[in-house]
């Protein structure tokens, strides 16, 4: 008994590692091309057979869902709330830096997720959850300014902020207009500053 346990664990660890490499191969293919990767491409990039892919994921939709969850956990880990108690300019800059980094890293994944969400309730629920998290984050970061507004105006401002700092807003600035990361951030900083009401005095 004592000798078989490590063998099983070793097998499980290898299988988990293979699973992880398949997910990473899928994500890296998304970064390289706007096309949704095929199972053959994923297998080739991961260095496994197509059969190995389908031994770990019953179908490509399951792989997409697993990749989405992996991306969300990484994205959330790298987007901790910072400077919540900073002054207005610090909070805006902090929020924009985090959001810009997320958009820069995860835009291809986000696009693939949106293209495929129509086929899956699970993907749709993840898109909704991601949007809720973005909305809540904005609400927390700009709580002092938003607290000065009436309820409908507060909601309207949050919806506008969410639209302005959407993934595709970032994508357009970087891809269509050729802005650098710094220039694109400056657009968002200026825009948020104009959209928010005055910061109440302490």
């Amino acid at each position: 008994m004592s000798t078989s346990a490590p063998v099983v664990d070793g097998r499980r660890l290898r299988s988990e590692r293979t699973r992880q490499l398949i997910i990473e191969a899928y994500l890296s293919l998304l970064r390289d091309s706007t096309q949704v990767p095929t199972s053959a491409q994923i297998a080739e990039r991961a260095g496994y057979s197509v059969r190995s892919v389908f031994e770990r994921f019953p179908d490509l939709m399951s792989l997409r869902i697993a990749a989405t969850d992996h991306a969300f956990s990484l994205g959330t880990a790298n987007a901790q709330l910072r400077d919540l108690n900073g002054d207005r300019a610090t909070r805006i800059r902090s929020q924009v830096e985090t959001r810009a980094r997320t958009c820069e890293t995860w835009l291809p994944m986000w696009r693939a997720l949106n293209i495929n969400q129509g086929d899956s309730d699970e993907l749709r629920s993840r898109v909704r959850l991601a949007r809720e998290l973005i909305y809540r984050r904005l609400e927390l970061m700009y709580q002092p300014e938003l607290s000065t507004l009436s309820e409908p105006m507060r909601r309207y401002t949050l919806i506008a902020l969410e639209a302005l700092t959407d993934f595709e807003s970032w994508g357009r600035m970087r891809e269509n207009y050729g802005l650098t990361i710094e220039e694109a951030r400056e657009v968002w900083i200026r825009t948020i500053d104009r959209l928010l009401p005055a910061t109440p005095a302490e």
Partner: protein, 213 residues
């Protein structure tokens, strides 16, 4: 016309031309019905239709489709051209010389109506542009038209700032008034048409610089 069909004085060629014109007209009508079938299917399902579905809806054979369009990408391009023409015909600039709030409201109502009408088609047409340079070019053109319209509507305010600031404002306005921004207000946040318009009106008013006296 009457002279043209008199025997012995060139009537036969004119009749031939009329026949050709009739054929051309029918072919043009078939083409239009195929395009309209495509648009109707997208509005109903939100998905890219298959050739068989388009043929069935239009009342023609699949072969008829491919006699007029070499492939489905060419049909998508034709659908885009048709939609641009229709949107331009129905989206004349209004209230250009009005006060700030009237211009903002006019722009928002027109754009909201456009998003409401064209969102499903926009999603299908712009979803996969790889290998379709003609379609990419047209999607880019639609974006340019939207931006140009905003530049015209808000010229008084935009003329009062430097080029660099104007560019930043336009980028923000474009993101704000995007199709998917509208879609989220209507589908995700459950806002009515009027509420969604109010979000845009308030935000544009804050983003634009002061109107010069």
């Amino acid at each position: 016309m009457t002279d043209a069909v008199q025997p012995g004085d060139g009537g036969a060629p004119a009749l031939g031309e009329a026949r050709i014109d009739g054929r051309r007209l029918r072919s043009e009508r078939t083409r239009r019905l195929i395009i309209e079938a495509y648009i109707a299917l997208v509005r109903e399902t939100g998905r890219m239709p298959t050739a068989a579905q388009i043929a069935e809806r239009a009342g023609y054979s699949v072969r008829s489709i491919f006699e007029r369009f070499p492939d489905l990408t060419a049909l998508r391009v034709a659908v885009t051209d048709y939609s641009i023409a229709e949107a331009r015909a129905n989206g004349a600039l209004r209230d250009l010389d009005a006060d700030r709030l009237t211009r903002i409201r006019s722009q928002v109502t027109q754009r909201g109506g456009g998003c409401e009408r064209w969102l499903p088609l926009w999603r299908v047409l712009s979803s996969d542009l790889s290998g379709a340079p003609d379609l990419q070019q047209r999607i880019g053109m639609i974006r340019q038209l939207i931006v140009m319209r905003m530049e015209m509507m808000f010229r008084p305010e935009l003329s009062s700032v430097s080029d660099a600031v104007r560019k930043k404002i336009m980028l923000a306005l474009e993101a704000l008034l995007d199709f998917e921004s509208w879609a989220r207000m209507r589908e995700l946040y459950g806002l009515s048409f009027e509420e969604a318009c109010a979000v845009w009106v308030k935000a544009i008013d804050r983003l634009l610089p002061q109107t010069p006296a």
